[in-house]
């Protein structure tokens, strides 16, 4: 069998239903195999779009995303999505073409050291040196991407090796002696954690993306229901605990709620689950949660005590650990009344500092209102992707996500241009769901070319551009911390997004009046095919509240 046909067999064996990619010289043989393989290939307009689409697909479905690119520039165009997938632990397999083996190291045409360039940003990678290795490498790449702490893997295949004939035998097992993720948490540690929770007066559950990755949302709810534990989550985990909910404090971190950040600050016990104490969460590390003991549950042992020392470390899969933790906790029959004073304190913060903004008196669309309008128009039931900037934070704050995998954003790397292709991938993975992208007017231009892909493939995403005419988040920092000396943040009137949408074969709409906004949004949602809505919002609104960079949670402003 041709090695390239074996690649297709491997993809099918892995249950791959779609590949996002773009061909070139070095992967021409592979693309020939697509002609007869029964796998949907979506031709993207830029490899970065393909990479982010594969991420969006993976985040929405929980399955492994797949992206293909040719050697050299094709592969280097994937660098941003690969790094993005690494930072947010997204299972994606990248398969790149490479120049012929005789050209390796000669600066041959379109040669780039793909393995070398991507080495620090992959979970693992495979340089194919013998065509016979290809099937095993591909299965190992899927196994590593999917299991443990998920992440991106890459297989680099020289063109001549992909043209070889091989003896294909289905691979049914992978054997990786150096890779054995710990799934079951240590029972003694779990018991100790249960005791610490039962003894605590001011506990809080701090939930991260690991809970979404391990599909542990039900177990999290179960644990929270054991007692009235307050719950907060990172920007990666919104929806893992349903919002709104009496125990839900909102997101924590730089633009989190005061209730969540103050509760972390005053807690005597923080139970971190699949979260990694990122600097956007902790603020000034030396003043982070000064009274708290830390339970840290994570499948990646390197995360434990990396930034904040853990008193009770538990290495394991969140789903398994949370299930056992709930059982252990219930057996202790802790007195729920002990949490009464803590809840009173939290309630006082919630009352005094709800998320709020000043509503406009006229037709002006406040960005926060735009998010609420979208919530109403979608019944709160859409999958929402976003780009990076103020709009991202406003969606995180104002769109209540009832379930995990409904909120898809670039949290770790903060990649502008993520939202539109990610929505495309999510819509391909979840054809029965409404998929919307809330984009920034700056960000959306970084991957707007994928609108052509959406039109060509009939992928009906609805893109709502929160158009403030600025690189808004940067403008906000310049206003607040650099004496309003605006430097390179003004976007000007270009492009005309309605015309741009139409040029790409999508429907373009513009909204400038808040009084008709919900209806306009409903109309956009009901319109068939891809739609772009240019929403003109207040230009200089700031995202608040905020922990200024490097300050402690107590020092929130706005």
């Amino acid at each position: 069998m041709r090695a390239v046909d074996a690649i297709m067999e491997c993809l099918k064996a892995e249950g791959v239903e779609v590949v996002f990619g773009l061909p070139g010289g070095a992967n021409l043989p592979t693309y020939d195999a697509f002609v007869d393989a029964d796998i949907r290939h979506i031709l993207v307009r830029h490899e970065a779009g393909g990479g982010h689409a594969a991420e969006g697909y993976a985040k929405a479905t929980g399955r492994v995303g797949v992206a293909f690119a040719t050697s050299g520039p094709g592969a280097t165009n994937l660098v941003t999505p690969i790094c993005d997938a690494m930072m947010d632990s997204v299972p994606v397999v990248f398969i790149t073409g490479q120049v012929r083996t005789e050209l390796l190291g000669t600066d041959g045409f379109q040669e780039a050291d793909t393995i070398g360039i991507t080495m620090p940003i992959v979970k693992h990678s495979f340089m194919i040196q013998d065509p016979q290795e290809i099937p095993r490498a591909i299965h190992e790449a899927f196994h590593i991407a999917r299991t443990g702490r998920p992440g991106p893997t890459l297989v680099d295949i020289p063109q001549d090796l992909s043209r070889a004939e091989i003896e294909y035998q289905p691979v049914s097992d992978v054997h990786l002696p150096g890779y054995q993720p710990t799934v079951e948490g240590n029972q003694k540690q779990i018991r100790q954690a249960a005791r610490a929770l039962a003894a605590s007066q001011r506990p809080i559950l701090y939930v991260g993306g690991g809970v979404v990755n391990s599909n542990a949302s039900a177990e999290l709810r179960e644990l929270a229901a054991c007692d009235r534990f307050p719950v907060t989550a990172t920007v990666m985990a919104l929806g893992a605990f349903p919002a709104p909910h009496p125990q839900w404090l909102g997101m924590l971190g730089m633009h989190g709620t005061r209730a969540a950040n103050y509760a972390m600050d005053e807690a005597d016990l923080i139970c971190a689950i699949g979260a990694r104490f990122d600097d956007r969460v902790t603020g000034k590390l030396s003043e982070f949660a000064p009274h708290a003991k830390i339970i840290h549950i994570d499948i990646d042992p390197a995360e434990i005590s990396k930034n904040v020392p853990a008193h009770i470390p538990i290495v394991g899969d969140a789903k398994s650990v949370l299930g056992k933790l709930a059982v252990e906790y219930r057996a202790l029959a802790a007195d729920p009344a002990r949490l009464e004073p803590w809840w009173q304190r939290i309630a006082s913060w919630q009352e005094r500092y709800p998320l709020r903004y000043e509503e406009s008196a006229d037709s002006e669309i406040k960005p926060q209102y735009m998010v609420r309008a979208l919530h109403e128009a979608t019944g709160g039931q859409a999958i929402i992707t976003s780009d990076v900037g103020q709009h991202q934070m406003w969606v995180a704050q104002y769109y209540d996500f009832p379930e995990p995998r409904r909120w898809i954003n670039s949290g770790g790397l903060g990649t502008m241009g993520f939202g539109l292709p990610a929505a495309m991938g999510a819509a391909v993975g979840c054809p029965d769901r409404l998929v919307c992208c809330v984009a920034g007017d700056g960000s959306v231009q970084m991957n707007a070319q994928e609108l052509a892909t959406c039109s060509a493939e009939g992928i009906p995403i609805k893109v709502f551009i929160m158009n403030n005419g600025y690189l808004g988040m940067v403008r906000q920092w310049q206003e607040l911390f650099w004496e309003k000396r605006y430097s390179a943040v003004e976007m000007g009137p270009y492009p005309d997004f309605v015309k741009l949408a139409e040029a790409y074969g999508a429907t373009g709409m513009r909204c400038e009046d808040k009084r008709t906004l919900v209806d306009d949004f409903k109309r956009a949602i009901e319109t068939e095919g891809p739609v772009v809505v240019d929403v003109r919002v207040s230009r200089e609104e700031n995202t608040f509240p905020m922990i200024p960079a490097g300050k402690a949670a107590r020092e929130m402003v706005g």
Binding site: M119, H124, M127, I144, G178, A302, K306, F481, W482
Partner: protein, 185 residues
């Protein structure tokens, strides 16, 4: 704390604190890896990314042809070393890592010294070599090459002894280390 995103300048202490990860004792890490392409690059890259300077590094076959043994020494405070070993464990081709306890470890390296010996000094240099149980492996008219095996301190001591005679060059392999007792390293 200042941060690039805010206007406050970074203080000198902050900059120093960020760079002070390399204090503390020397660590000898013994790493068993699969013999696959790129393993060394992955390991070296991981150290570079965390700001660690590898002091010595040796790679060689192990008793199993599919596995190689890497011994590396690195200077660091305990906590960051802990982070590095955990990160190393995440590399798929790394099978086993030990941060060897100096008291429980035999460490050796081999060094070659080329010393200039003009006239009467020759005897003296050879005597010193003998005291250090060194071997003369090459003798020229105006130089000798001496092979010394031992721990890093012994080699450093020999170096300081022969330097006054005119040390032309020195080469060291870097340490390899094995744990004492019956247990495998």
């Amino acid at each position: 704390m200042g941060e690039p995103g805010t206007k406050e300048p970074l203080s000198l202490e902050e900059l120093q604190a960020a760079g002070s990860l390399r204090t503390g004792r020397k660590h000898t890490l013994s790493i068993l890896v699969e013999n696959k392409s790129g393993v060394l690059t992955r390991i070296a890259g991981l150290f570079a990314r965390r700001g660690f300077n590898i002091e010595t590094l040796t790679v060689g076959p192990s008793d199993d042809p599919d596995l190689s043994r890497i011994t590396l020494t690195v200077d660091g405070a305990l906590h960051p070393i802990d982070q590095v070993t955990k990160q190393l464990h995440k590399l798929i081709n790394v099978l086993k890592i030990r941060d060897l306890d100096p008291a429980e470890t035999v460490a050796r390296e081999l060094a070659l010294f080329k010393v200039s010996v003009d006239g009467p000094q020759r005897g003296e240099v050879m005597q010193i070599a003998e005291i250090f149980r060194g071997k003369i492996v090459d003798v020229g008219k105006r130089s000798v090459v001496i092979e010394i095996t031992g721990g890093a301190e012994k080699i450093a001591a020999f170096e300081s002894m022969v330097r006054p005679f005119g040390l032309i060059e020195m080469m060291r392999t870097g340490e390899i280390a094995i744990s004492r007792g019956r247990q495998e390293t």
